[in-house]
Symmetry: C2
């Protein structure tokens, strides 16, 4: 096996001190596997710097020696973007010790924070000055701000607040050659040149190493109203979205679609209670939030539900009457990704389609996968307000898990073809990483790929930052 020469590794170690370098397989293990266990890599070492200066020196040395650097945050990515290859010559650059809160500014409603801070730490820092950071993800306890920005993370509040890029005002980035771009802009408006920030956000660590960011904060929520509704079809979920947006304006902060199969899994594996007396084909989690205190939202949501029931948009509905009930409703949604694992292998998708094609997509995709693998169980859930569905497919009951998972690409192709045929995307929020690189030539024009390759060449001429990711 190829190896990184020991003298080079020692030079990296000298930058940060030996105790922040992990060299043994055991020490590195948690950096080499990822949550879905689909990707596993081998690394020469894991470096754990705690300052931008150290990252800068590491990159300068990497550039000089042609060493591939794989940046890694909380290691929660779902497309293998944070995992090295199996050559053993790549170095993982863990940002997790670079995690200081640099500034919390109530007057500007901004948070300046280092890349390795967890999303939860960022949310808490905002909360301490009575502000709200709307980025909300299942993995928020362990994912990091750097990773969130590198992948332009989405999550549960996009319908109201946009994705990570929309929440970012500025960045500090260490370039491939070790130079530091200080783009820590805190201004809401600043039209002085190209939008470099947006270029690094979502580039999946292939153009530079994000070391710190300025995030936009919002007034803290003073009231929220959470409802769980049973609907006949995804089409009704969309009618409900329209109704809720009409009747409550900008206050729909979450609208999530869940299938019966998902609720059944949760009931079975987590002893969750079915909120309704009888089964229904689809469910919607609807939440309104406001920075105003008071009962207005409660009235809003009651009116929305009354209209929905009256007009036959919803079959049944419950409103959370306590924090406990709110948590119970959220648990149904939040347990869903995990709960699928108890039913065996699951082939994942992260598609988005135009809102008015969601129903067609779900119908066609369900038929297509069951056609391909009789007995396969579609568990499609997600951010219906953004047109973003995690169309996951659980193996048939009793099937061989490995044999089922071996058909991953085949199932993907069928589902992706349906999504792209509708003008949709094969990666709404998870990114490309290693998992979907091979799809790029099929979904991007030659012109776009050439521009992207040119940007990569300009910013990383020696191809040392996260090589083998994103670009085909």
């Amino acid at each position: 096996m190829a190896q990184l020469p020991a003298d080079i590794l020692d030079r990296f170690a000298a930058i940060i001190g030996e105790k922040h370098v992990l060299r043994t397989a055991g020490d590195m293990a948690r950096y080499l596997d990822e949550p879905r266990k689909k990707f596993h890599g081998i690394a020469a070492a894991v470096l754990r710097p705690d300052s931008t200066e150290q990252v800068s020196k590491i990159m300068a040395l990497a550039n000089e020696t042609g060493t591939a650097i794989i940046p890694q945050g909380g290691n929660t990515g779902l497309v293998g973007g944070q995992t090295p290859d199996d050559s053993g010559t790549q170095i993982i650059l863990s940002l997790e010790r670079l995690s200081k809160i640099r500034d919390v500014d109530a007057a500007q409603s901004t948070l300046t924070i280092e890349a390795g801070a967890t999303l939860e730490a960022a949310q808490e820092a905002a909360g301490e000055i009575d502000r709200f950071l709307p980025l909300t993800l299942a993995s928020q306890g362990s994912c990091t701000i750097g990773g969130n920005l590198a992948t332009n993370a989405g999550g549960l509040n996009v319908v109201a607040y946009g994705s990570a890029r929309d929440l970012c005002l500025g960045l500090e980035v260490v370039l491939a050659d070790g130079r530091v771009w200080n783009g820590l802009n805190t201004l809401r408006k600043n039209n002085t040149g190209y939008d470099l920030k947006s270029l690094f956000v979502g580039s999946e660590g292939t153009l530079g190493i994000i070391t710190a960011a300025v995030l936009k904060l919002f007034p803290a929520s003073q009231s929220r109203a959470t409802a769980f509704l049973a609907v006949e079809s995804p089409a009704q979920a969309l009618e409900l979205l329209n109704l809720a947006q009409q009747q409550s304006g900008e206050r729909v902060t979450t609208i999530e679609l869940l299938p019966r199969a998902g609720l059944e899994f949760t009931i079975k594996h987590h002893q969750t209670r079915d909120p309704f007396g009888e089964p229904h084909p689809w469910y919607v989690l609807l939440e309104l939030s406001s920075s105003q205190p008071g009962n207005e939202l409660a009235n809003n949501v009651e009116n929305i539900l009354a209209t929905a029931l009256d007009q036959g948009i919803a079959i049944d509905a419950v409103i959370a009457q306590s924090n406990r009930q709110t948590e119970d409703i959220w648990a149904i949604r939040e347990l869903l990704p995990e709960t699928q694992s108890y039913e065996g292998g699951s082939i994942k998708h992260d598609i988005s389609v135009p809102l008015n094609r969601i129903s067609d997509f779900l119908e066609q995709a369900a038929i297509a996968v069951v056609d391909l693998i009789p007995g396969a169980r579609p568990v499609a859930f997600g951010h219906v307000g953004d047109g973003n569905i995690h169309f996951n497919v659980t193996q048939p009951v009793g099937a061989d898990t490995n044999a089922f998972l071996a058909r991953w690409d085949e199932v993907n192709k069928v589902v992706h073809d349906i999504a792209t045929g509708m003008g949709g995307s094969v990666s709404a929020e998870h990114g490309i990483g290693q998992l979907k690189r091979h799809l790029m030539p099929g979904i991007k024009s030659d012109v776009e790929l050439e521009i992207m390759t040119g940007l990569k060449r300009q910013l990383d001429p020696n191809n040392i930052i996260n090589p083998g990711k994103l670009l085909p």
Copy 2:
């Protein structure tokens, strides 16, 4: 004087037909001057294509022949970005005939529109499907979507909806060599590669020619409440912003600061009525909007004003009780830029500072300019919710206009130094163009300028698209 060879010009003409080519000084006049009459250029011709295909052929020929192309929309830019140099060899590419509405999609709340359509046409197209395009500018009757995006336009609703970039989901761009990048994404979420859209938006026509765009629409406003308040100081305007955001949440869609001098100009030159019985030092235009009908906003604004008066944040306040009164209040703000011209020369600034520095900035800048030019009259107004102030300085009464305007750079330097010393920007929303190019080395690091220059070189290696703009 250098000239573009006639045979080359004829080849350009052949692409679009002679009747869409303007060659005489008289025909070209309205493309060569800009609104503030600060910049005047000379062009070899004005080309007026009406399709992306024609633009593509024009750029291919320009690239082949090394002809500089100056893209122009509604010619309303304030920094000379749309004006050719005085060599006579550059060609103006007017996008105004490329103005079709390609698609209006209620289900997705998107508008796909060509670059030369006016902002007003875009707003109307949104209105026809009961949607709202929040970009709102004084020049909306003549400025174009292409120009709005090329300059990342701001305007009167940024506090609630962001700038043009935030409203853009996708672009079609003709590259310097004539190739077309079709990036007309309509999806809310699509994480498949670098954010090329954000790179072209705000690049002031230096990286490619925007020929069409997909814009995000919002639910139409069903109610609004407009108030005009007298306040003692800019600090109180900010307290009012906080109060209004706390009490009405996401519904503050406009908050504008105006000085007494501005209102006086408007009263004098437009027979506007002073809304209050006596003069006050500063005024605030506050508007709340909602997609919900009903009286809630009226109650909101009444409560905000009552609290503001009660707590001494405002001295006096009026609420518009009719559409007519709403228009009257808006007229005071909208007439302000024009009204200054009746008082002689005006030296303009477009700064932004952190919100909590606005008061300090206004105080220090006013002292500094009067120090420099005794009798100079600061007329500072603008988008206080974004920290963006148009700190304009009107000449002393009776002074020589040309002599006053000759001190433009000197006054700019004093004002810009104060803004940048506070972490502010010298161009919040107007961009760099020709006017502020020379400032770039002072406000950008070498690293940032090198990245920007590299991007320009990659996308326009022959430096033919809008040369001499934006980059120092």
